[in-house]
């Protein structure tokens, strides 16, 4: 079926289930993708409720399962959930900071059937890593990455790249080689939630990017067949938007710690939306019928320039959250797109932010992601 004209009658399947088990986290990264108002959500789904989510989603066709958070290791029932995921036939991914991990747990996860572990690093030097994470975590992460490989998991190392660590990209890559990562994600900060708040301190300059990109591509060639390096450029510098979530309500289903079902983990900030909760609605009904998941599915919701654009089936108009944050209207084209009327304003803002010297940038402290700051931002 092509996507000409209107929204597809039958939604595709939720291939990807992201289980955000908790917003609790021992780290405080200032670019965290969790919402700013994490302090508001104290309730977490119980083990049985999560098991029901896993079962229902698998029946709907989900194959990839991400255990995420916050820090999923905070949940003491993680072993139980992993075992259930394996029984159901998921490929399960643990997306973790490594804090709360020890060798016994890594072995127990393997026994339970966990397929893959992704560990995040904040930087390749201890001081910067610990500063950005707001905790003395570097040595433990390093040790845990070794343990993960020892237990024969495929290992992804994820490093969020931004103005304050991008110049160390070569050291970062060397660290991942030393740790024998199978995949490395050098993921430029995306500006949502906490990172939007801190964008002046995080957005790299064009010159920094050009240099980093060259180094990353050089290592991609050098490591071919041994280690796969994904280098994601910050979309603020692009002229076409990312195909965000592969389209709204297309393949991604996020369940937040309190049971809210979201088409992406940043969607909570969109105004006038009410998101269904797995405590009172089935996954099938959420996916197939809820107004939240149908809101931007297909292309009926689009305005110009997206509506008549030949590329709308490729990028789906970009990111709804970014359109809202940068234009005030979630049905606008993502302003990353050169065809958007708001693109020039975004370019001007990027130029303004990156005109500041690193000293000026560092003079304004980053707002760390923690409950205290979350409460203060809400008041």
């Amino acid at each position: 079926m092509d996507r000409a004209g209107s929204a597809p009658l039958t939604p595709s399947k939720p291939l990807w289930l992201l289980a955000e088990l908790t917003y609790r986290c021992p780290l405080q990264c200032p670019y965290c993708s969790n919402p700013l108002d994490i302090a508001k959500y104290k309730d977490e789904l119980t083990t049985d409720q999560w098991i029901s989510v896993l079962q229902q989603s698998r029946k709907m066709g989900a194959a990839q399962l991400g255990f995420s958070g916050g820090e999923p290791l905070v949940r003491q029932d993680l072993e139980v959930l992993i075992a259930e995921a394996r029984r159901l036939g998921y490929y399960s991914n643990l997306i973790t900071s490594g804090i709360g991990m020890n060798e016994d747990r890594v072995a127990a996860f393997k026994e339970a059937g966990l397929d893959h572990i992704q560990i995040s690093f904040q930087a390749s030097d201890e001081e910067l890593n610990n500063y950005l994470g707001g905790s003395d975590s570097f040595r433990h992460k390093y040790e845990m990455a070794r343990v993960v490989k020892k237990h024969d998991y495929p290992m992804v190392l994820n490093i969020v790249i931004h103005r304050q660590n991008i110049d160390q990209i070569e050291d970062i890559i060397k660290m991942t080689i030393d740790l024998q990562a199978d995949y490395v994600e050098l993921a430029s900060t995306q500006y949502y939630g906490w990172s939007k708040l801190n964008e002046a301190g995080l957005l790299p300059t064009r010159e920094q990017l050009a240099r980093a990109e060259k180094i990353a591509h050089d290592y991609q060639d050098r490591m071919k067949g041994k280690m796969k390096i994904l280098y994601v450029v910050p979309d603020y510098y692009e002229t076409r938007p990312k195909a965000c979530m592969n389209g709204w309500g297309s393949i991604f289903l996020t369940i937040a710690p309190d049971g809210s079902a979201l088409p992406c983990h940043a969607a909570r900030q969109l105004p006038g939306m009410s998101f269904p909760n797995v405590k009172d609605t089935s996954i099938a009904s959420i996916w197939n019928e809820s107004s939240a998941f149908m809101r931007f599915r297909g292309d009926d919701w689009m305005q110009e320039p997206c509506r008549s654009c030949s590329e709308k089936g490729k990028d789906f108009g970009g990111c709804r959250c970014q359109a809202f944050m940068l234009t005030g209207d979630a049905t606008n084209a993502d302003p990353v797109c050169g065809k958007s009327d708001h693109h020039a304003a975004l370019v001007a803002e990027v130029n303004r932010l990156t005109a500041l010297s690193l000293a000026e940038v560092k003079a304004k402290p980053l707002v760390f992601r923690n409950l205290k700051n979350s409460r203060e931002l809400a008041s």
Partner: protein
């Protein structure tokens, strides 16, 4: 890559980076890997279904010939297995 010199005696196995399984919702065999999935064609699924870390390439071809009599498949199977090695889906079991 040294792994790509494929002979009839080579014994392939699925790389530990991938999990091969039948996926009901896709009505096909798939390879799952960290945060991704490759949906396999019918013939690719048939071939990888015979990769068990014990059977040689010749053995895989023989098994397929039994299942699909008369199909001229030697080269197709070898070509596909070479592609699969190139994609990193397969490793060779050391003799």
């Amino acid at each position: 890559m040294s792994d790509s010199s494929l002979s009839l005696d080579t014994v392939p196995r699925i790389s530990p980076m991938f999990r091969f399984q039948w996926e009901e919702a896709q009505e096909s065999h798939v390879l799952l890997y960290p945060e991704g999935m490759v949906k396999l064609s019918g013939s690719a699924g048939e071939i990888l279904g015979l990769v068990d870390g014990k059977t040689s390439v010749a053995g895989i071809i023989d098994a397929l010939k039994l299942k699909f009599p008369g199909a001229p498949l030697d080269n197709d199977v070898i070509n596909f297995l070479e592609t699969a090695y190139g994609q990193g889906w397969l490793r060779t079991v050391n003799a």
